[in-house]
């Protein structure tokens, strides 16, 4: 007889409780998790469904609001600014994520090598991500400023340009400038996560591949990438949601301008809220849901394929 079974019987014989020790410990587990569960229900689940519900109403701050069906969505989709917002969001997120993927993977591979000062470089790479977002984007804005900005100063002094370049004030340069700032801010997360993944790939696999005559590139393609595939998928999902929801970067750099050329969902929703029309503002957020749902679905399928 096992000790646990013995204890179960002992408890029942003594009549202290009808529950076994294991059941009591399970119950205690639920009790301890309950506060967190309540927090998640109250702070995440409820607001989520509440936002969906009010997006179908004409609710404004302090007023109840009546059901209006799809009127908010109809109003949104008929606005040229909203359609441009959808386009901008897709372009911005796609380019930023692809850039972070290549940059993050490349640097992670480098930092995984036995290079001199590796620990120092690993620490240094975290600075953009550790810096408060407000500080980072205000600094970028000051660098982009046409007069007195660091970038213009370097370009003019080096003779590459003869007049000030308005990085944030022209349609052609505003989006690329915002992308550069967002990639700079976000790539360290990818580096560190991929680095952790690479370090979990067994060394024997690399040795075996080397013995089979694989060069560095082939080892990367056939050992490293498959080994961290599931991490890449998770990072893409999490980071895409974060980038799509990024408000402070775009708001601080361009405010969604010039001429809505960098307007994305979160900034658009912010301006909607300025009118106190929370039904309309909620509709902007809800309009993003299908994109996230599709992305999560695709990643889940790929992960499931990995496991099977």
């Amino acid at each position: 007889m096992t000790q646990r079974a013995s204890q179960d019987i002992h408890t029942q014989i003594k009549g202290e409780s009808r529950l076994t020790l294991r059941q009591m410990e399970s119950l205690m587990g639920y009790v301890l998790v309950a506060p967190l569960l309540v927090c998640i229900l109250v702070l995440v689940v409820y607001p989520f469904f509440f936002a969906i519900a009010i997006s179908f109403t004409d609710r404004s701050i302090g007023a109840g609001g009546a059901f209006v069906g799809l009127a908010n969505f109809e109003y949104l989709f008929n606005q040229a600014a909203f359609l441009e917002t959808v386009r901008n969001t897709i372009v911005l997120v796609s380019v930023v994520q692809i850039s972070k993927l290549f940059l993050g993977l490349g640097i992670a591979v480098l930092l995984n090598l036995p290079i001199r000062g590796r620990q120092f470089w690993r620490g240094l790479i975290l600075i953009p991500w550790a810096m408060p977002a407000f500080v980072a984007f205000i600094t970028w804005k000051l660098m982009f400023v046409p007069q007195g900005g660091a970038l213009n100063y370097m370009l003019i002094e080096s003779g590459l340009v003869t007049t000030h370049v308005d990085f944030l004030g022209t349609r052609e340069l505003a989006m690329p400038s915002v992308i550069v700032a967002l990639v700079w801010r976000g790539f360290p997360f990818w580096v560190i996560t991929f680095l952790a993944g690479l370090q979990s790939v067994p060394e024997e696999l690399y040795e075996a591949a080397a013995l089979d005559g694989a060069n560095a590139w082939q080892r990367f393609l056939n050992v490293s990438l498959p080994g961290i595939r599931h991490i890449v998928l998770i990072v893409i999902l999490v980071s895409t949601i974060g980038t799509t929801n990024n408000f402070e970067g775009i708001f601080l750099l361009t405010g969604g301008g010039p001429s809505n050329s960098t307007m994305t969902f979160p900034v658009f929703a912010y301006y909607s809220l300025q009118n106190l029309n929370i039904g309309e503002a909620a509709a902007v957020g809800v309009a993003m849901l299908p994109i996230f749902a599709m992305l999560a679905f695709v990643v889940a399928i790929l992960l499931q394929r990995d496991e099977s």
């Binding site: 404004s60 046409p146 022209t170 405010g255 301008g257 300025q274 009118n275």
Partner: protein, 432 residues
């Protein structure tokens, strides 16, 4: 036994956490909470807090003053209304007061308004007109404490006078001519925002001075598409193409014009007074070079919008605290405090008794603020002040219209057509 202590520890932790959440809420019930409007002047902010605390001591009331950045008032108040955590009294801008009163979130203060007006020789006409408009349905929902939103034209006299322009421009056309006559590479004439910020809504003021209108006299149909609008756009886009606007004006934040002027990149800006306070303390040389005047007029009229900031009481405030709020508002309206506050703030007077305060004759920018308060036009004039107009402005449709032309090279006619459509969509939505 071990299990007993483990369970007891868990229960104690829960009890402590619960107490931490509940106790502050219980304690706050007896405290009078006031959300004050944080402005640029630390001196004025401190004076305000001290005055409210003095009132609390005199009346034996616990007070808690929370200063809210005026750019965050909409967000903070919106969240508080939804959460049911509104303060007992708060400072608001007039436009936000309108929106909240229409959503029945504010207590009418009509009698108190009349009482305070009577005690101080009456309200200035410009102030009275913006708090008693038809949109308020015959009631008054806030006690004005200053004339706000008035822009004063700042100009660099050290640059303009040697160039042959010793006097202030009377018209926008004249201003752009002065800017063009002296516009060296590092010094741009027209430091006006064209971005998605409140400062950029000066373009609406400019459009109105050219005779353009956002909507008709009923305030129901947009009338952006007009010859007057074309004339305005021709002028402003011409000035932009001539390089008279500082680079980056299309994406400035709320401090963009301040920064441009104080870094010597702009010759003209429009600002209520925050720049004045800053250069007085931090750049006396620039303060010495600066001259102040009213905003220029257009070919049709001079539009000088002035609004007000008010003290209001949420409907959720208890009856006892509403009485206290009324008493506090009277205490804050006393001339002794108002003079101290206004000498440090960037506002104009709201009451007749405040017109003779020394600051309004001694400080050059306050002279301008006084002029704006006395002669200023109601915020939306000549347009109808309603929710549609407010939404038009919060969507920055006039600056966006200008951006479409100068950034995207869209024709004036196409930009007008787009803005007309967007504007009409807003008015149609609010007309339902």
């Amino acid at each position: 036994m071990k299990r007993f202590w483990k369970y007891s520890l868990h229960i104690c932790v829960f009890a402590i956490l619960a107490t931490l959440f509940i106790a502050p809420t219980v304690a706050q019930d007896d405290t009078f909470v006031y959300w004050g409007g944080l402005i640029f002047s630390e001196t004025a902010n401190d004076a305000f807090v001290a005055r409210v605390e003095e009132w609390g001591e005199l009346r034996g009331v616990d007070v808690e003053v929370v200063m809210i950045n005026q750019n965050e008032t909409v967000q903070r108040v919106s969240a508080a209304i939804e959460a049911g955590t509104m303060p007992d009294a708060l400072d608001l801008g007039r436009d936000f007061m309108l929106l909240l009163s229409q959503n029945e979130q504010l207590e009418p203060l009509t009698d108190l308004y009349a009482e305070i007006g009577e005690e101080h020789g009456g309200w200035l006409e410009s102030i009275n007109s913006v708090v008693t408009s038809d949109d308020f349905g015959g009631e008054i929902y806030g006690i004005p404490y200053a004339a706000s939103g008035a822009n004063i034209l700042y100009r660099r006299n050290d640059v303009l006078e040697p160039a042959g322009f010793p006097d202030a421009p009377e018209t926008w056309e004249e201003l752009s001519e002065m800017a063009a006559a002296h516009n060296p590479p590092e010094n741009y004439g027209m430091g006006f925002a064209l971005s998605n910020v409140g400062d950029a809504n000066i373009t609406t003021t400019m459009l109105q001075s050219y005779g353009g209108r956002i909507a008709d006299d009923e305030g129901r149909n947009c009338t952006i598409d007009s010859e007057e609008t074309r004339e305005f756009l021709t002028w402003i886009t011409g000035a932009f193409e001539a390089g008279l606007f500082p680079p980056g004006a299309t994406t400035w934040d709320g401090a963009g014009d301040n920064t441009a002027y104080q870094s010597g990149n702009a010759v003209f800006i429009a600002n209520p007074g925050s720049v004045y306070l800053n250069i007085l303390e931090n750049d006396p040389e620039l303060a010495d070079w600066t001259r102040y005047s009213a905003l220029p007029g257009g070919p049709v009229m001079r539009v000088n919008p002035v609004s007000t900031v008010v003290r209001a009481v949420p409907v959720a405030t208890s009856d006892a605290k509403k009485e206290l709020a009324n008493d506090l508002f009277k205490f804050l309206s006393e001339d002794e405090f108002a003079e101290e506050y206004m000498s440090a703030a960037i506002y104009g007077p709201a009451l007749q008794s405040q017109v003779d305060f020394a600051v309004f004759s001694e400080s050059p920018v306050h002279v301008g603020l006084l002029g704006a308060a006395i002669n200023g036009t109601p915020g939306s004039f000549p347009d109808v002040d309603n929710a549609s107009y407010a939404e038009y402005q919060t969507n920055f449709l006039t600056p966006n219209m200008v951006q479409r032309i100068v950034v995207d090279n869209v024709s004036i006619d196409d930009a007008i057509a787009e803005t007309q459509a967007s504007c009409q969509a807003i008015y149609d939505k609010n007309n339902e």
